[in-house]
């Protein structure tokens, strides 16, 4: 119970709900209450959500029987497994495999390395609250990895974490300023998003609050639809112009190009490389979003499991694979998904929904409506956003990262690999567990 002292009713209300929620996350994940009958879906099962909550609380995978490795989608990562070595051939427990990856493989420009093979994906101010942005940024700073602004501007409170914040430039150019590009060690061009490929961003009017509109330099309470594609790009050569523009503004910045997964995603990746990108970030069609037409989520562009080997193998054939970093996203839920993505050919992953689940997301898909998320995540409502304290949020995300790294090391150890970099493209270490369609 909340200690009353001299708190205002509003403060007491917030604290009351915060305490109840945190207790609820703990009790449900412990399975003392069984499982919520209405929780979960094929991709994020109740087990995966609970397992995530356990990890966010303890920094370790669950040991209470929850399946923390796969969902129930009957395809993709959920049908892949690892061919672990016999236990006698595992690396000793005392040996900690290296989980770091470089984010610049070019011979020039700044070298950046992250200690874990993943960073946080773009989530805009407006789609999520400032508290969530801060939670993610603090966790990124603690781990020496990154989070991304998404297409919604750069709140001032984020500036102190700028060394760990990627500035995203998307087709609406919302919130993009010279100083936010200059702040950024990495600038990300978002050409497309896996959940709504070819459609541009959506922020519905209810969530375009005064604060959101101000930072985006738009009109309050009016829906914002980013155009598609960039109106300044008609060909791959124009893409080079974009990168030159960023480099002129911030010569130190690495450039990431985020694209979705059409049939020619391999060609797009090669084009991006020759345009000068340091990171090619492919976002598969089952990724998260704050709002997207339902028709786009399932039906446009391919799932990331299919795109990764296509791009990886094409870059290998072109002889440029070791000069560019391939990051993958769009349905990366677990440490096992990360490891499988890397085995299929990615260097690392970008995660988003998993971080929100760590903060209490139940995947109810109501992010876009009214005041936004009832758990205070995908909202800019001043009351709801108080449900997540940035310190608590950072701790939860950090714990999740810790568990993911722990599991990745466990996977590498059981495969006899000393570094996650050795896992890249090792399809031979995977086994298919399904009956293909």
């Amino acid at each position: 119970m909340v200690k009353l002292n001299s708190k205002s009713p509003e403060q007491m209300i917030t604290e009351k709900h915060v305490l109840a929620l945190r207790e609820g996350f703990h009790r449900w994940a412990s399975l003392e209450l069984g499982k919520m009958p209405a929780l979960g879906d094929a991709r994020w099962t109740a087990d995966l959500i609970y397992a995530n909550w356990v990890q966010a609380e303890t920094g370790r995978p669950p040991s209470n029987g929850l399946n923390f490795q796969t969902g129930n989608s009957e395809g993709g990562f959920d049908l892949l497994d690892f061919k672990f070595l016999p236990e006698s051939k595992w690396l000793p427990a005392s040996q900690e495999p290296d989980t770091s990856i470089p984010l610049n493989k070019r011979a020039y420009d700044k070298k950046i390395q992250i200690p874990i093979p993943f960073y946080g994906g773009g989530m805009s101010y407006g789609s999520i609250s400032e508290q969530i942005m801060l939670s993610r940024a603090r966790a990124a700073k603690k781990w020496g990895t990154f989070t991304s602004t998404g297409e919604g501007g750069y709140p001032d409170s984020l500036v102190q974490y700028k060394d760990n914040v990627i500035t995203q430039i998307a087709t609406g150019l919302f919130g993009v300023r010279e100083e936010t590009i200059q702040n950024a060690p990495i600038v990300e061009f978002k050409y497309a998003q896996g959940a709504k490929p070819g459609l541009g961003g959506h922020l519905l009017g209810d969530k375009t609050t005064m604060a959101v509109a101000k930072i985006r330099e738009s009109v309050p309470w009016v829906s914002l639809f980013s155009p598609f594609p960039f109106h300044s790009v008609y060909c791959v050569e124009d893409h080079r112009k974009h990168i030159d523009w960023v480099k002129a503004t911030n010569p130190e910045a690495l450039v990431s190009v985020k694209v979705s997964t059409p049939t020619d995603v391999d060609m797009v990746a090669v084009g991006s490389y020759y345009a000068g990108a340091h990171i090619i970030h492919i976002d598969g069609s089952y990724g998260g979003t704050g709002a997207a037409p339902e028709i786009a989520k399932k039906n446009i562009a391919m799932p990331i499991e299919f795109a990764i080997p296509r791009v990886h193998e094409h870059l290998v054939k072109e002889g440029i694979r070791d000069e560019v970093v391939l990051m993958s996203s769009g349905g990366i839920r677990t440490a096992y998904d990360i490891a499988k993505a890397i085995a299929l050919g990615a260097d690392g992953c970008v995660i988003g929904t998993a971080e929100l689940v760590a903060l209490g997301c139940t995947r109810c898909s109501n992010c876009e409506r009214g005041r936004g998320c009832p758990f205070g995540l995908t909202t800019t409502d001043p009351e709801l956003s108080q449900l997540v304290d940035p310190d608590w949020g950072a701790e939860r995300i950090s714990n999740l990262y810790k568990s993911l790294q722990f599991q990745l090391r466990d996977i590498l150890r059981k495969l006899g690999l000393k570094s996650v970099k050795e896992l890249r493209g090792r399809k031979d270490l995977l086994i298919y567990r399904g009956n293909h369609v």
Binding site: L199, T263, A291, A292, N299, T362, C367, R369, D428
Partner: protein
């Protein structure tokens, strides 16, 4: 604004007869949408169970602790489930969106369950989620937009194992449905010769195009016999007229209910040949229920301006009918999309399209496909596989909140329309559905950078199939034998 009849007549006159008809007044195609809420409540997605003793204890505890009614009264639901006169003691599940915050916070006495009644919606082909989606689309006329990523199975059989492509950078259109450029969803129904020929004076000398446009690549098909009422046909006819498309109606009810209009396609069997003379106008299109040379001759004689389509099952050879002068085909599977040889329409459409391409006649004919279309995404997928347009069946009934008695598979299936069905409401619901599906088609076309749906037909390169992608990605992985 031109009415469909006027526009169609003008276009038909222009295309079929004279080449020099009036150009008409340009208007941007638009379907008028309006809110048309459900007539009766659909089963809520969730049930909310609150233990009254637990709730009472909580209230007492909080009253003692906080001594502030405002704090005690603050409940976790944002959507009004607990905002009735007695709050949580009588929850209102119709408002529940399944966020689960209430049960997360108060697990000891609040439970949220999936509503088993909702699981009964639809049938073995159309899922409860698809029914929900259609009801939303028909109520609002808008595109369903929601947060969070995809929640379903990875892929699957039929349409679920198919993804449409998109264009990342190089593309002719900008902005999709929110942009300034117009993307056309108009398709031409009719006879389209591969080329024109001219005499020495420059006048056309050979076969001329005989086609007319419909505003969307969707027509309305013959409903099950159990709902073939005058009112339902009139609703379909009215909606088809507004949407600038067609509805197929058996000729006898068409005459009995005095439905003739350009938007109505009479379905005529060989035994009904005599009914043709009773039509007060020449329809834009007349559909033969089965092949019969005498019937075809009779149509040509009695209604020379009308185009003719042949309704037939998937699997038959079309080429012999093309040789006999048929250029429009309405290919039929059952409502679940299964052909008589047990295949899903996706494969059947591809086979028909490919065979016509190989024979070099695909551009000359129009294919309309019936069956297996239960959601907006199925329309572009069917078109990519090779049809020019699809014919809608069960979704139109679901739009009107019809009750399906068991599987709704074919024309004999039992369906019950709501009693006291308001015609204006029903017409609006179908218009809303057409508009929502059209807008979703525009999303798909916009994502691909295509400016017109005609270009999508048979563009298999604009699609990706699970079997193929999986083989490319997983070949060589132990255990994969695809």
């Amino acid at each position: 604004m031109l009415s469909f009849d006027m526009a169609t007549n003008q276009r038909r006159e222009q295309l079929v007869n004279s080449h020099s008809g009036s150009a008409g007044v340009y208007h941007r195609y638009h379907i008028e949408t309006r809110s048309a809420p459900n007539l009766y409540p659909s089963p809520s997605r969730f049930l909310v169970k609150v233990g009254k003793v637990g709730l009472a204890k909580l209230i007492v505890t909080e009253l003692v602790h906080y001594r502030n009614w405002k704090v005690v009264q603050s409940r976790p639901c944002l959507y009004g489930v607990f905002s009735g006169p007695v709050g949580g003691f009588a929850p209102r599940p119709k408002y529940c969106v399944g966020c689960l915050r209430c049960t997360t916070q108060f697990p000891d006495f609040v439970k949220v369950l999936k509503n088993p009644e909702r699981q009964k919606l639809g049938d073995s082909f159309i899922s409860p989620d698809q029914v929900d989606t259609i009801l939303y689309e028909t109520s609002t006329g808008t595109v369903p937009v929601r947060g969070a990523g995809y929640r379903g199975k990875f892929g699957g059989k039929g349409w679920d194992g198919m993804w449409t492509d998109m264009s990342e950078i190089v593309r002719p259109t900008r902005d999709g449905i929110h942009g300034r450029e117009y993307i056309s969803t108009e398709v031409d129904i009719g006879d389209k010769p591969m080329s024109l020929s001219f005499d020495a004076q420059g006048n056309p000398s050979g076969e001329l195009p005989r086609a007319f446009p419909i505003g969307v690549p969707m027509i309305f098909d013959v409903p099950p016999a159990s709902v073939q009422t005058q009112q339902y046909f009139s609703i379909l006819q009215s909606a088809a007229s507004h949407v600038q498309t067609l509805v197929v109606v058996p000729i006898k009810p068409m005459l009995a209910y005095e439905l003739p209009s350009v938007s109505v396609v009479p379905l005529v069997s060989p035994t009904e040949q005599s009914e043709l003379k009773r039509l007060s106008i020449s329809p834009a299109l007349i559909e033969m229920a089965s092949w019969d040379k005498r019937l075809l001759d009779a149509i040509h004689e009695i209604h020379p301006k009308s185009l003719v389509a042949l309704r037939m099952e998937y699997g038959e050879d079309l080429l012999k009918y093309i040789d006999s002068g048929i250029k429009n085909f309405h290919l039929v599977a059952n409502y679940h999309g299964m052909t008589r040889d047990g295949r899903f329409v996706l494969d059947a459409i591809r086979d028909v399209h490919d065979s016509l391409v190989k024979a070099g006649v695909r551009e000359e004919v129009t294919l309309i496909g019936s069956g297996g279309v239960a959601a907006a995404e199925h329309v572009p997928k069917a078109i990519i596989c090779g049809v020019d347009a699809v014919a809608l069946d069960v979704p139109l009934l679901i739009a009107l909140q019809a009750k399906l008695h068991g599987d709704c598979v074919n024309i004999s299936s039992q369906v019950e329309l709501p009693q006291n069905l308001p015609s204006e409401w029903a017409t609006q619901r179908i218009k809303n559905l057409a508009s929502s599906w059209r807008d979703q088609l525009l999303e798909i076309l916009g994502a691909m950078g295509m400016r017109e749906v005609r270009r999508l037909r048979g563009e298999i390169g604009r699609a990706m199939f699970q079997t193929q992608l999986e083989h490319e990605a997983f070949a060589g992985i132990e255990g994969y034998h695809g």
